[in-house]
């Protein structure tokens, strides 16, 4: 059995209500269609403050400032019951929007982001205190420009960037005629790049490594990086690695809609397992268009619009040293072209099939991590409780396969599920947010086996009607080949007999 270690994890949030209000896909479309709508009028007044976002329980769970057990105990609705505010957690941080604008400037190598000079000075001082930003990164931050320069740029073609409703910067276009390099596209790509860099920097710190130790970066967001001749040309990965000073790394991007992160982990694990590249980071930044995606429903139903953070993550894959939890590569779940599209076919392909291939039952998995969308965001938008629906499907499948009784569905869901806590950022909720918590739970001996499941809506790209999915089993260190490699009495006896036989032969030869 082939296994690959997951040595460290990082998860970050970039609080960005102004980016959400102006460049989130839903408000942006509304502004074009009905600029004076009630929705747009009411939305800014409903926004969370940074302090509220930093005291919002699911955000705290995402950055590792709260365990999932604590989250499950936290009183609902979470939006009305703030917890202790924390900027940093075990895995990463939640960063305010002004610092994020500075971080975008740090990550911009084509002078596209301009900050107002007062804003630039103020964020420079704040970013200098960030534990993961080094001199090389801070030196990339520019001094900023007078407000009049920004106003002029915005009058021409640049997109305004705001803080508390005031012009604080702008994002310029990268070409005068190329639609794939226009200001809006560049803003989305730079925001994804900056949030990805933040996660990568936290990962390097959490792993106790130097940037130069990273051999390869696999990036798995949903952005298309390129110009008019090659719209999705790519390599966000190497662009992230450059800013993080990973001088010995190269990289590439993996795209599979929301299944991208799991697909990227499997890709990276293949490289590590083959010995081709020992320290591989799998990274993704967040998505600007998904900010405030469901805000229309939230405003209508008078609940806070909570899609105000870009989410990012980074995981470090290393050879299995027996000390870290591992990905098993002998039992990958794959939603094949021929599998069909019914929920039953998909769930079977991603859970039952890979488990039974290695002699495991659905009840041998302690925790399942499917799409971990925060239900406080999806329920008011009519999209249901996504993780709960997934858990019920897995439990129902277990009933059909005769592995649990029908009356045990609720217990299965309660025991092997978890509340959704991930920001609704497409690829971000897709199983991976649990990996960091799983590493902690495995180190503490609370769980031994988890399954990470990603699913992607390929049909959104209009090239196929298919969806996709991928999954893998994560196991505690030292389980070796899982059930298959546990030492049995017969194995020990056989080994001893062989050794004694060899000894006898050697003694006879010696005589």
């Amino acid at each position: 059995m082939t296994t690959v270690g997951i040595k460290a994890a990082a998860y970050c949030l970039n609080f960005a209500p102004e980016l959400a209000l102006h460049y989130g896909g839903t408000p942006r479309q509304e502004r074009r269609a009905k600029p004076d709508s009630e929705f747009l009028r009411d939305l800014p007044g409903r926004a969370q403050t940074f302090e509220q976002a930093a005291a919002y329980a699911p955000n705290q769970a995402y950055i590792g400032a709260m365990t999932l057990e604590e989250l499950a105990q936290a009183p609902a609705p979470w939006s009305d019951n703030p917890v202790r505010e924390a900027r940093f957690g075990t895995f990463g941080e939640i960063m305010p929007e002004d610092e994020f604008l500075g971080l975008m400037d740090i990550c911009d190598v084509f002078d596209l982001i301009w900050l107002e000079e007062g804003v630039a000075a103020s964020v420079a001082a704040k970013l200098a205190r960030n534990p993961v930003l080094g001199e090389k990164q801070l030196a990339r931050l520019e001094k900023g420009r007078p407000l009049a320069d920004l106003e002029e740029a915005v009058r021409q073609h640049a997109l305004p960037l705001y803080l508390h409703g005031r012009l604080a910067g702008c994002c310029r276009r990268a070409h005068d005629t190329d639609e794939n390099l226009e200001a809006g596209v560049m803003l989305e790509n730079l925001a994804s790049k900056a949030s990805g860099v933040l996660a990568l920097l936290h990962l390097i710190r959490n792993a106790g490594l130097a940037p130069a130790d990273i051999d390869f970066v696999v990036e798995c967001s949903e952005e298309a990086v390129g110009d008019t001749m090659q719209r999705g040309g790519g390599n966000m990965a190497k662009a992230l690695a450059e800013i993080a000073e990973c001088v010995n790394a190269s990289g590439f991007d993996v795209r599979a809609f929301c299944a991208g992160p799991v697909a990227a982990l499997i890709t990276a694990a293949g490289m590590v397992a083959s010995g081709a590249r020992p320290n591989v980071a799998v990274v993704s930044g967040g998505s600007v268009p998904k900010l405030y995606m469901n805000a229309r429903d939230h405003v209508k139903k008078n609940v806070p619009p909570l899609e105000n953070c870009l989410g990012s993550f980074a995981l470090l894959l290393t050879p299995d040293d027996g000390q870290t939890p591992v990905m098993r590569l002998d039992s990958l779940g794959k939603h094949t072209v021929g599998a069909g599209a019914s929920p039953q076919a998909v769930t079977t392909a991603l859970t039952f099939d890979p488990l039974s291939r290695v002699g495991l039952r659905l009840t041998d998995v302690d925790k399942y991590a499917p799409e971990l969308h925060n239900a406080e965001v999806t329920l008011p938008a009519g999209a249901g409780n996504v993780p709960e629906a997934n858990y019920k499907m897995i439990a129902a499948l277990a009933v059909m396969k005769g592995q649990i009784a029908r009356g045990d569905i609720d217990a299965f869901v309660a025991e092997r599920g978890m509340p959704g806590f991930a920001p609704i950022q497409g690829h971000i909720p897709s199983g991976v947010p649990y990996v960091g918590h799983a590493l902690e739970a495995m180190k503490a001996g609370r769980i031994r086996r988890a399954m990470i499941i990603g699913k992607g809506s390929l049909f959104l790209g209009r090239l196929t009607n298919l969806a996709d999915g991928a999954s893998f089993i994560l196991e505690a260190p030292g389980m070796g080949a899982g059930a298959g490699r546990q030492v049995r009495q017969e194995d020990v006896t056989e080994m001893l007999l062989t050794a004694l036989g060899d000894l006898a032969a050697t003694l006879q030869k010696g005589r």
Binding site: P343, Q344, A345, T347, G382, G384, K392, A396, V399, M400
Partner: protein, 109 residues
């Protein structure tokens, strides 16, 4: 109901005639199922799509309704739908769609 699906249903009704069409819903929540059923009978209640103000009065069922289950091959049903039958609130889904059908469908099975 998304705009493209509205268009497909409208096109099909024009091409084949409303009396020759049954819309089978697979939605997972009763509220959504009711809106879909309303859209293909009375018209799009959100006034966003091409069925806004177009009462097609089509015959509409949820896939979990007993009439459809009885007509289906039991093995296929078990393979494709058995799991979701355990997961979803079947009674509420059936009630939501039946109510809309009985009040507003001009055609029947």
């Amino acid at each position: 109901m998304d705009l493209e699906n509205q268009q497909r249903i409208k096109d099909a009704a024009e091409k084949y005639g409303g009396e020759n069409i049954v819309v089978v819903l697979g939605s997972s929540d009763p509220e959504g199922a009711e809106i879909y059923a309303e859209t293909v009978t009375m018209g799009d209640p959100t006034f966003a799509g091409c069925l806004a103000g177009v009462p097609l009065g089509l015959c509409v069922y949820h896939v979990l309704e007993p009439e459809l289950k009885e007509a289906a091959d039991p093995a296929k049903w078990e393979e494709q739908i058995g799991m979701m039958e355990m997961v979803l609130k079947v009674d509420a889904l059936v009630a939501a769609v039946r109510k809309m059908r009985e009040a507003n469908s001009k055609f029947s099975l």
